[in-house]
Amino acid sequence: MIQRIFTLSLITIKESINKKVIYLSIFFALIIILVSRIFTSITPGAEIAFMTDIGLVTISFFGGMIALFLASDFIPDEIRKRTIYTVLTYPVRRFEFILGKFLGISGVVLLSHSLMSLIFLAVLSLSGGAIKGDLMIALALIYGTLLIFSSIVIMGSTFLSPLINIVFSLFFYLLGHLVTYIRHLGERMEGAFIKFFLIFFSYIVPDLERFEVKDKLVVGSALPIGITGSCFLYAMVYIVCVMMLTYVAFNEREV
């Protein structure tokens, strides 16, 4: 089973290498990170904070773009090109297929995220910024959000068309940054149904706010102890749940 999942993730990585979206995203991220160094003059005295802010947002945005465009198309592409016919007539369980795809996409996202992070850290270092442990944690947490995002996109790709899936996934991603607001809104509501719905919904969407440490980092506040562990534990549990739902949807799908 492990060999099959590994083989499927490897083929996903190999296939991704041919996708232009990765190179375009990394190229634009590089441009923005480099350009941010020029515009530090608009924030005198806070040049490094400005670059850190722009750098983290850029990595998060383009990492998200890579995850979105890769994950939204992989399973539909296998069905469209009918390569899935042959794969599923081999001793491959459908959950192995999904897991292989997810791990492959996670690998590609990790590679591109690492590359963008290295560029960012190099530019920051050359500009006199210190590479602190908290910065590395922030980068790791961005990868955590990208993993959650990828799993949601993969789930959508098993029953939605690519375009609708992109809209659906972005909607979930945005709501994931508004979890506290949705929960507070639900608590203030008077109607029992809407109250229940909003609070329940706030637990369904991924709590991406807990991964958001950029603001603390920029103003120089210390990050809470154990944040990396708790966030990755949350990410793992959330991803397992999403993958289980993906399996349920994909298992009943005709190809």
């Binding site: 060999q3 099959r4 083989t7 499927l8 083929i11 190999k14 296939e15 041919n18 090109k81 009918r82 390569t83 016919y85 042959t86 794969v87 599923l88 007539t89 081999y90 001793p91 491959v92 369980r93 005709e254 190809v255």
Partner: protein, 258 residues
């Protein structure tokens, strides 16, 4: 012994709202025996590919039942015993022949020397060993079909399901595929293939079934079906093509008379 058995197998494709759209297959009752070559014949759109996909567990029956080697078609233990060559060779075009077969071999659980030996052997059989490092996107249609067959042979299957195996091939390529099918039969492999090319079914098949508008309109041993008695009780051997056209036309006439 039946390798494949279908009982009243019916498939109705539905639209987005779950309403019946197309009745692709109606109450198919079929048994395919161990070691035979069975040809599923029929014009385009007659339900051949649907029947094969149901037997492979790629789609699910609306009603009825299908069993392969006594098990439901999605049973994972069957998958390494069944080789499937789709209508077109749907393979990863960015890989070359060796990489493709290694990929499928790894899905079978093969590794190391065993995998390499089997890949070499299969590439030799299909005659692609000299172009093994060329990406599949540069292959001609004939080479792609042979590659599709190579991934079937890699499994050393007990049952081969071939969907229009010689379509689009030149006579030499088609002849080579037919030779491989006959060799499979000699080795005891059961072969089920669909085709609308009658010339390829006639020399190969032990039995045929003719599908028309989703219904199996006739089935039997080729020798029995092609023997018709004339008025003076002299057996005249009919060509498959004549038999096929007559059978379909009779069906059409009875259909219109209703």
């Amino acid at each position: 012994m039946s390798i494949i058995k279908t009982e009243n197998l019916t498939k109705v494709y539905k639209d987005f709202w779950g309403r019946p759209k197309t009745r692709a297959l109606s109450e198919l009752n079929l048994e395919i025996h161990k070691g035979e070559i069975f040809g599923l014949l029929g014009p385009n759109g007659s339900g051949k590919t649907t029947a094969l996909k149901l037997m492979l567990g790629l789609i699910f029956p609306t009603t009825g039942k299908v069993s392969v080697m006594g098990k439901p078609p999605r049973d994972i233990s069957l998958k390494s015993k069944i080789g499937f060559m789709p209508e077109e060779s749907y393979l990863y075009r960015f890989l070359n022949a060796s990489e493709t077969l290694c990929f499928y071999g790894q899905l079978l659980g093969l590794k190391g020397k065993e995998l390499n030996n089997r890949v070499d052997r299969v590439l030799n059989i299909v005659g692609l060993d000299r172009v093994r490092t060329q990406p599949l996107r540069e292959y001609s249609k004939g080479m792609s079909r042979r590659m599709g067959l190579a991934q079937v042979l890699l499994k050393e299957p007990e049952l081969c399901v071939l969907d229009e195996p010689t379509i689009g091939l030149d006579p030499i390529g088609a002849g080579e595929i037919k030779d491989i099918i006959q060799q499979l039969k000699k080795e005891g492999t059961t072969v089920l293939f669909s085709t609308h090319l009658l010339s390829e079914a006639e020399p190969l098949c032990d039995r045929i079934g003719i599908l028309y508008e989703g219904r199996l309109i006739t089935m039997g041993a080729l020798t029995d079906l092609l023997e018709v008695k004339d008025e003076v009780e002299v057996k005249v051997r009919e060509k498959l093509e004549e038999f096929y056209i007559r059978t379909i036309k009779n069906r059409d006439t009875s259909h219109f008379s209703k």
